[in-house]
Symmetry: C2
Subunit: 421 residues, 2 copies
């Protein structure tokens, strides 16, 4: 049997895992790896593999049939991926930023050149989210997709709950354990989730949006008081990627939410990922597993490679794997048009009338109160007031909050979080 030649770009954790998983499979030969530093010691046997620091070398090799991209970032991978497709290579990528930003263009180019671009590893590590949305649930139209798509933030929030840690301490622990990077911005500010939910949304609803236009809120402002108070109210705080379709508008967000304790998503702990899919026929389906890590992510990459290998044995198989993600006349809606119940934490003066002022401001914008607690008055005479609203439009809530912020009795608005439903 002629082996299928593979070129791998990137030999970090995931790339090393891919080389290890492919090694015993007689179908495949890893012919090339492209790395930044060709002199670095690697934790894998490269004796029969050509090592280059110029990925274009492998892309221009006519024997290479599948290019695997497990590096990250869009530069130079955007140009490189397009060039590889133009050379007739099939692509397997874990690059969420690339697919989220340039998916439409890349898939169209692949269609034109009759090749396949697969990206199971770009979202949810080894959990087969992409294949489930693309092929497991075709009989459904989707109403919403909600996911815990970032293991780092889920780990941090779980630690804050279980150990009563502050955000900073939990982040430091996550960094020490290798769950968070030295610069955690991508994770804790929600960029990673925005990329991923945009990819899932494109599969569910047939249209990518600009991921940088997706509404984001990070988890940096969440305190242990928020975690405790949310639990008293019957919720657990989770970083959520959410995509819904309203008419021809897509409502896509990446922000922490209060998830009811009885909801399946609330039980997803530690570095796990989960996706909760609501389909017209199937109802609610949830998939849970490790969303990152060497072998789980390599499992997704190699699964894609095996699917393409099946494709290569048959004529005209590529269309089966080509996602239809530019078919819908849809646009990203404004967060202002959406509705949610809100959890709000305020720092106020402990003077009479504070709660009256608050109620007045909310009432003036038709936001009604669900629950309210006032916590420990401090030495400086300030108090923390936390309340939960009934469902209201983002527009009304943000106007009410502006008014509350301007009141003399308000020191500052600590945080505003949405409730999941």
């Amino acid at each position: 049997m002629a082996k299928i030649n593979i070129g791998i770009i990137g030999l970090g954790t995931v790339g090393t895992g891919v080389v290890k998983l492919l090694a015993p499979d007689p179908q495949f030969k890893v012919k090339w790896v492209a790395v930044r530093d060709t002199t670095k010691e690697r934790d894998v046997d490269l004796s029969n593999i050509r090592v280059t620091n110029n990925p274009f070398d492998m892309v221009n090799d006519p024997e290479v049939e599948i290019v695997v991209e497990v590096a990250g970032g869009t530069d130079p991978f955007y140009e490189l991926t397009k060039h590889a497709i133009e050379q007739g290579k099939h692509i397997v990528t874990a690059n969420k930023e690339l697919i989220s930003k340039h998916g439409t263009e890349i898939f169209e180019l692949a269609k034109k050149h009759n090749v396949t671009v697969m990206f199971e590893a770009a979202v949810g590590g080894g959990i087969p989210l992409i294949s489930t949305l693309q092929r497991g649930l075709q009989a459904n139209t989707f109403s919403s997709i909600a996911g815990i798509l970032n293991g780092t933030t889920n780990f941090i929030l779980t630690q804050m709950e279980e150990k009563g840690q502050s955000f900073q301490d939990a982040l430091a622990d996550a960094q020490a354990l290798g769950y968070a990077e030295a610069d955690p911005t991508n994770d804790v500010k929600g960029f990673d989730v925005a990329y991923k939910i945009n990819i899932l949304s494109s599969l569910a609803f047939g249209r990518f949006v600009d991921p940088l236009a997706v509404y984001r809120q990070g988890i940096t402002g969440i305190t242990d008081t928020d975690i405790k108070t949310a639990k008293e109210f019957g919720f657990r705080i989770k970083m959520i990627g959410l995509a819904r379709r309203n008419g021809n508008q897509l409502d896509i967000r990446a922000h922490p939410m209060l998830v009811p304790l009885h909801h399946l998503l609330a039980s997803v702990e530690g570095a796990n990922n989960a996706i909760f899919i609501s389909g017209s026929a199937v109802g609610d389906v949830m998939l849970v597993g490790q969303g990152a890590g060497q072998m789980p992510t390599a499992s997704a990459v190699v699964g894609d490679i095996i699917n393409i290998a099946s494709a290569l044995k048959l004529p005209d198989f590529a269309p089966y794997f080509q996602p239809a993600v530019a078919s819908q006349n849809l646009q990203l809606g404004s967060i202002e048009d959406s509705e949610a119940a809100f959890y709000i934490r305020l720092e106020t003066q402990d003077t009479p009338g504070v709660i009256g002022n608050l109620g007045h401001a909310l009432g003036a914008h038709s936001v009604s109160l669900h629950s309210l607690v006032q916590r420990g008055i401090k030495e400086d005479g300030s108090a923390t007031i936390i309340f939960l609203t009934h469902k209201a439009s983002e527009r009304s809530v943000s106007r009410a909050l502006k008014e509350i912020e301007a009141q003399a009795t308000t020191r500052q608005i600590g945080i505003a979080l949405r409730v999941f439903e």
Copy 2:
């Protein structure tokens, strides 16, 4: 576009759902339905569909390309399915009994005639379990599959826990709500789970066994005392289908187990189903959703139909969907050879020495005790003793139980349940 002609056998809840889901899809025409009673009123428009009480009519129609079987039982569907395959029809079936008992033969026949047999609906309703095992996780070898595969028993056990109901009362509620059949044997005695876990095992390990040889224990002997005591010990009782490979032996069972409260499977409530897959690369993945019901099951059936429709557009696509389930030299092991920790409930005389006798019998067979509680002494002088053992072989535990049963102080052994790990 020429429509693909479909024949449906069975027009109960699921068949009706399939007709409804297919109606708006321009790819398909439901040409035939086969039903037992052609005069019965149906909850769906059949005006352009031929209705027959002889399913061979549709199977012999050369225009029919896909035969959908959503009736149940093996008679006459075993002969009918083979005949349809020999006529070159693709098969989509929800019939777990048929696939579990005759899968190997049916898949081989399908290979010979270059057609596809799909059965996503046979296990887990609309949850894409089959496609996940077949195509989403190909890069893995599997170490174990554990599932809550029967919504009826999960509903009953959830009711017993939440409402403190007896088994009989919870069963009556399940029957009133349509979750359990008038004759609940298939569900509560574990036959349904045995069929389903055998199908999942065949996909994970490449070999069907005789489902009637799979070890079964039903849930009929579980009392509210067991549910409460298990919870005190830190567990929830769930009906579990379990499949593991040990060398060339398959360890497959269908029985209730004590699942640790922190395990994801413990959080699956009501009529939901879930499957927990442990793969060599991906680690643990869990899928959860509605395991039965009209539209979820129809979602799985129609998903399979859409996959076959893709196949029909391409030459030689059928092999891609043909499961490889006869490839492994494996046989069903004996339950005696397996190991578990046990939960045991005894009815005893409340006389001194009872616990000493118990400890003696366990010790004689090297079964060591983890926890023990004694519950309310009754008027007749009997007492309930419940204990949890450390992990031990089935053989040792059953010998110890035989010895305990023979002791004068023992009235009866109430139940023995295995602990999930």
